[in-house]
């Protein structure tokens, strides 16, 4: 069941910059028969199945928001993005973004958005990056002064300067992604769609891109919609997340809200004083009450417990009273695990 919990303070203040209502996209897929004989039969008679990649989504995004759009592979993320960017025409439902219909007003609309697909580049493969930028300047009708000023800014924030004169095909993945992001933002779009911009990147490259996106979102009030499988992207960047699975919205709200709803399990990391204390710990905790524990090594244990059945205070009291310990850390359940639970079991 989709749940709509709006961000506090956003109700009815502004018109959303993206408004999707009952968005639906069906694909007619034809079932291929197996084997050579099957292929021959396919020539004469094909069986089609209609699949809904996006199955009735309602989503509002306010100007200046940084929304994380997540879901397992094949959930409908890319299809949603492609409808919001005007690449695909919805089967039914409607989208109004920046006051326009992404498909019908395509040429006007594309001037107000920037799009980055992590999987493939927007740049011309064989020529220097700067040449691609110059052509994009023409296509998007950016004045020379603006162009120079923006190039300077992006060059500084993304470290592009030494890349500008390299052909795109010779760039590393991280370098190419930085150039792609700069290319998508040259015309200062109001909305930016990023489809897995950090896929396959190392920590340093990821960090640079995140810092840049944060800066753009903060200083220019650019609305950013990001899909990713890397939840650290989400934790660092997004104030709000929407989770989609099998074409339907499962959750729409803050990350903390999701934690509060689903983070029933907390964990406590205990550093023991000596290797004999392990047994004592087991006795102290007892069995039942939803408490489980595991040895990470001889001197470290992690205790998992259900917050609804037992409080952290109670567990700590038990441990400190009966077991010699050096350190105790209370950890929140990692967001990965919460998301994993949703993907496999739903909300």
């Amino acid at each position: 069941m989709p749940i709509f919990s709006r961000l506090p303070g956003h109700e009815g203040v502004t018109v959303p910059i993206i408004e999707a209502r009952n968005l639906r996209k069906e694909f007619r897929v034809f079932k291929r028969r197996e084997g050579v004989w099957g292929a021959v039969r396919d020539l004469f008679h094909r069986d089609y199945v209609t699949l809904a990649a996006v199955d009735g989504i309602n989503l509002n995004v306010e100007e200046g928001e940084f929304l994380g759009y997540i879901g397992p592979n094949g959930a409908g993320k890319s299809t949603t993005i492609k409808m919001m960017t005007g690449i695909l025409v919805p089967t039914s439902g409607e989208i109004v973004a920046a006051g326009l219909d992404p498909y019908r007003d395509r040429t006007r609309y594309t001037k107000t958005i920037g799009v980055v697909f992590g999987q493939r580049t927007q740049l011309w493969w064989d020529i220097a990056v700067i040449e691609s930028f110059k052509l994009l300047r023409r296509i998007y009708d950016v004045s020379t002064e603006d162009f120079r000023q923006r190039l300077g800014l992006f060059g500084e924030l993304l470290g592009l300067d030494e890349l500008l004169h390299t052909p795109v095909r010779k760039l590393s993945l991280g370098q190419r992604m930085r150039c792609d992001i700069a290319a998508a933002l040259l015309h200062y779009p109001r909305i930016v769609f990023l489809d897995e911009p950090t896929i396959g990147l190392d920590v340093v490259a990821k960090d640079r891109i995140r810092e840049f996106l944060k800066e753009i979102n903060r200083t220019m009030k650019t609305t950013i919609l990001l899909t990713t499988h890397d939840l650290s992207d989400i934790e660092e960047l997004c104030r709000r997340i929407a989770i989609i699975d099998r074409g339907r919205l499962l959750y729409d709200g803050t990350l903390d809200g999701l934690r509060r709803r689903l983070g029933r399990f907390n964990q406590i990391l205990v550093h023991l004083h000596d290797r004999h204390s392990g047994l004592q710990l087991g006795q102290a905790l007892g069995s039942g009450n939803g408490i489980q524990w595991e040895h990470l090594d001889e001197l470290t244990c992690r205790i998992h417990y259900n917050r609804e059945q037992v409080s952290s205070a109670e567990i700590i009291r038990k441990i400190v009273n009966q077991v010699p310990v050096r350190d105790i850390f209370i950890e929140e359940q990692p967001i990965e695990e919460i998301i994993k639970t949703i993907y496999s079991r739903g909300l």
Binding site: G74, K82, T85, T107, T110, W124, D126, E131, I139
Partner: protein, 263 residues
């Protein structure tokens, strides 16, 4: 319109830079392209060493038609490279996504994102053939002819290009790497000869189904003084306009149909 021309100019510049990145490739392509054109002429020459007349058409007349047809075809070849691999590169591999994300008409981008400048040689060789034959046949290059000729070349190129736009649009529905363009491309060769040498079926095909006769044969009939084809001659701009209108309609329908790739 002016903006589009400016962007077209920059697309050309971009293309030149790309080609210069691979100089040897460009030289080899130009060389083989010239060879292919000369081989085409060779065929006409061989044909006429055997038979002095082809159903009442003299060698110079046939060569004139052949030379003329190379010009719209050369223009078409310069522009059409992307159409030729449309199903493959744009539809199956999803390059069309990027096209739809830019604030220009999608067909404009597909047509002008890549060129095949070595086909310029077809236009030059075509001009040489037309020049030679018009001296031999005594065709006067008065003002009317000078204005009319480039317009006819333009109409011919428009017919070729937009016929292939229609064929490429089919890829929107049937996602296929190759499509039906290659066999039709080979049919261009049929249009280079007087239409009357063919049987009724092929004549009908070249006139009204895939109107290549209007791109290469009928444009020459007034220069060659063949009054019997004047009705078709005046239809040339109409046929070109009809092909463009149909192509834009089918293309637009196709774009609505575009399914993109999985990721």
């Amino acid at each position: 319109m002016k903006d589009l021309l400016v962007i077209l100019w920059h697309y050309l510049g971009q293309y030149a830079k790309t080609r210069l990145a691979y100089k040897a490739d460009f030289l080899i392509a130009s060389f083989t392209s010239i060879l292919a054109t000369i081989a085409g002429y060779g065929f006409v020459l061989v044909l006429f060493t055997r038979i002095p007349h082809l159903q009442g058409w003299k060698f110079e007349e046939i060569l004139f038609i052949y030379g003329f047809s190379l010009m719209p075809m050369g223009l078409f070849n310069i522009i059409s490279l992307n159409l030729y691999e449309f199903g493959d590169a744009y539809i199956v591999e999803g390059k069309f996504d990027r096209v739809l994300l830019r604030p220009l008409h999608s067909l404009f981008q597909v047509l002008f994102e890549n060129f095949r400048l070595e086909s310029l040689q077809e236009i030059i060789i075509g001009m040489a053939a037309v020049g030679y034959c018009s001296v031999k046949l005594g065709i006067p290059w008065d003002l009317t002819n000078l204005i009319e000729f480039p317009l006819l070349v333009f109409c011919g190129a428009v017919i070729y290009i937009f016929v292939f736009v229609i064929l490429s649009s089919v890829n929107f529905w049937f996602e296929d790497r190759i499509g039906i363009a290659p066999p039709v491309y080979n049919m261009i060769a049929f249009g280079r000869y007087p239409i009357t040498i063919y049987n009724a079926f092929i004549q009908f095909l070249l006139n009204w189904i895939i109107p290549f006769a209007f791109a290469s044969f009928y444009p020459t009939v007034r220069f060659l003084g063949r009054k019997e084809f004047m009705r078709e001659f005046y239809l040339i701009p109409l046929v070109a306009a009809a092909v463009v209108a149909l192509a834009l309609f089918v293309w637009d329908r196709g774009v609505r149909q575009y399914k993109s790739t999985g990721s």
